[in-house]
């Protein structure tokens, strides 16, 4: 898709912007720093009387901005760049203390109150999905518009192995808050998060296999097709040849509560909760759990990016033919991208399913379109 240069008689905003930016860059370094600092201070001071919570947040981020780019701590093993470590740590700390301060702080300017805790839990879940999507779309360049299907697969995996859905079986393993006589499969959530990841990675490979020969927008449309088929299967899944797999539009409910069980609860002196649902502030517990999972996902994603496989993905994204001729196994690399990209989605959904205690393919037509916003996050995140 190429257009010749020049776009009619409209004012060339880009040229004006470029001009002004060049004027700014010609100013001496010290002047620029002072102007920036003054503007930032003015913003913080302007927000302070009405929205001190927001102003504090801004002040922290501006403070981070002033850490020089090349400042680093030298240890005998490696240099630790301060800005790259301090920023995520501060963000993580702010997130961890958020449940404590939420009720104390005032509204967000132009938005309204700060998010409720249950919204914050959903935020962590979506953030995990965005990270997973970023692996498939961002690293490997495979535009997967059916990512929502993985989310559903993860949710149903969690639901199958931790509810009364399969009432003929009676399997209990590490479950919390479920009576011994309750039928169905009940497995600990911590195992399930891994299990859902494995199941979805498998589904990711299954979906990925036929699409390996396709590129670009053909791939996008096939994955979009899968993203439409799987929800319909879930919706009609209460009678697959007489077998109730998904309980149809009602969804599977209730799902067992997550928790660490009595032993770990006692061993950590009550730090790790026995049963999340029994907690008074259970949303906080879900939120922190989500944060931990998110941190693991982000860490794994970054380490993966820098690994041999991650570099292969990026090479594949830049030029598939060149990458293949440099000896990168296309099929394996692409499938691994699908599999790893798919893995965080169900983990997040598994925890989400536990929180809302129900797994259902929403009958609202809007829900099928969520992928687009995730795609948006992943692209805006780079």
């Amino acid at each position: 898709m190429t257009y010749p240069k020049g776009t009619g008689g409209a004012p060339d905003l880009r040229a004006i912007w470029r001009q002004q930016r060049e004027r700014w860059q010609k100013l001496p370094e010290q002047t620029r720093q002072r102007v920036t600092l003054a503007i930032q201070a003015a913003i913080v001071i302007a927000f302070l009387p009405l929205w001190w919570g927001f102003a504090t947040l801004l002040a922290i981020f501006f403070a981070l901005y002033w850490i020089p780019r090349d400042l680093a701590i030298s240890t005998p093993w490696r240099r630790i760049p301060i800005r790259a470590t301090v920023t995520p740590l501060v963000a993580l700390t702010l997130a961890i203390i958020y449940p404590f301060v939420r009720d104390g702080i005032d509204t967000l300017p132009g938005v309204g109150p700060w998010p409720q805790m249950d919204t914050a839990v959903i935020m962590t879940v979506y953030a995990m999905m965005a990270v997973g999507l970023n692996i498939v779309v961002g690293y490997a360049g495979l535009l997967d518009l059916g990512y929502v299907a993985f989310y559903a697969v993860g949710a149903y995996t969690a639901a199958w192995f931790a509810s009364v859905q399969f009432a003929k079986r009676n399997i209990h393993f590490g479950d919390v808050g479920v009576g011994v006589g309750v039928p169905g499969i009940h497995i600990s959530i911590w195992i399930l998060i891994l299990l859902a990841g494995i199941v979805t990675a498998f589904i990711g490979v299954v979906i990925g296999l036929p699409t390996l020969r396709l590129r670009g927008d053909y791939l996008a449309i096939v994955t979009l097709g899968f993203g439409e088929i799987l929800p319909q299967v879930a919706r009609n899944g209460d009678n697959l040849g007489g077998f109730n797999l998904t309980n149809g539009p009602n969804g599977i409910t209730p799902i067992d509560p997550p928790g660490f069980g009595k032993t770990l609860h006692g061993a950590t002196g009550g730090f790790l909760p026995d049963n999340y649902l029994a907690l008074a502030n259970r949303n906080n517990a879900y939120f922190w759990t989500g944060l931990v999972l998110l941190a693991i996902t982000v860490f794994a994603s970054i380490r993966l990016r820098d690994s041999r496989l991650g570099r292969a993905w990026i090479a594949l994204r830049e030029d598939e033919v060149a990458a293949a001729s440099m000896g990168i196994p296309l099929v394996r690399t692409k499938l691994l991208a699908y599999a790893t990209g798919a893995a965080p989605a169900p983990s997040s959904r598994a925890s989400r399913a536990r929180r809302s205690r129900t797994t259902s393919r929403s009958t609202s037509p809007r829900s099928s379109s969520r992928w687009s916003s995730w795609a948006g996050w992943a692209t805006s995140g780079g």
Binding site: M1, T2, Y3, P4, T7, G141, L143, L145, P210, T211, R213, L214, R215, G216, D217, Y218, A220, I221, V222, L224, G225, F226, E228, I229, Q232, V233, R235, N236, P365, R366, S368, S369, S372, A375, G376, T379
Partner: protein, 352 residues
Amino acid sequence: MTASATTETLPAKGLPRIGVMSAIGLLLVALVLVWLGVNLAKEPAAFASVFLDGLTLGLVYGLIALGYSLVYGILELINFAHGDIFMLGSWISFTIMARRFHLGDTNSVGKLIPALLVTMLAAMLFCALLNTATERVAYRPLSGAPRLAPLITAIGMSFIFQNVGLNRLGPAPVSVPNVLSHNAVFTIGGHEYRWYQLIVGLTTLPVLAGLMYLVQRTRQGKAMRATAQDQDAAAMMGINVNRTISFTFFIAGSLAGAAGLLYALYTTNIQYDQGFTLGLIAFTAAVLGGIGNLPGAVLGAVLIGMIQQFNEGLSWHSPGSDWTQSIVFSILILILVFRPEGLLGERTPEGA
């Protein structure tokens, strides 16, 4: 052409089991044919009636599919917003028909025909301008960007239009009055083929013929074909590429507008999210026929319309309307896997 011929004669080293794949594809086609044959033998009358329903629906799909195919042919961009422009076409037709001309369930012919013509022209113009504006705002600035960038803005535009539709139409389906007569034209073994179906089906034909004439015979059509083939070369031959692209979007949008009106008349029910699903179905049709190929798009749309009606209307072992979407998208996937160039298309590096 030569490239594809040579790749087929070479031992396909990177893609093994291509013979197995085509065998599976043929087997699937054979199964579908057997299913259709048994249904035909069991209830010929029902089969014929469902066939006609499918043909009518397919022609309406064809109008939308052509919009996808035109734009894809020229820009290699899946215009995701197209389905939602079609939905807005339904909305504006409904508004003009019901609110402006006060067409109800029974109308005098003298009022009906001019009112419908004005509605159709207005809807076509509205959608055409909207589509052109979308191209100008959302796709042209990304001309130098990677190919996925305009695709993502297209998805964004799709959601903007969907929300406009949600704002205007509300979340519930809006029922359109039965403007066209629902009396039977003729009856096949107890199954009625009604006037509104006939009129909707027949209206699509002159639109399709006009489009074919435009693309194949006129100067502007020649410019479009040249731009689709090679933009740089077309520009060097003195074709205003940007204007040709705008014109293509204009034509595609007007088709969406016409489809919007006809769909509203056909289903007598419009909803803010009809564009997403129908857009995907129409895109499937365009891919089935060979994307970028205009007769292929209509052929694919008619096939998809028939498959949908066969699935919902036949009685012997048909999955039923619960599975329609799954079937349509499975066809999409199967086509892209087994024959990415579609029924009438040529091989492209994208799909092969």
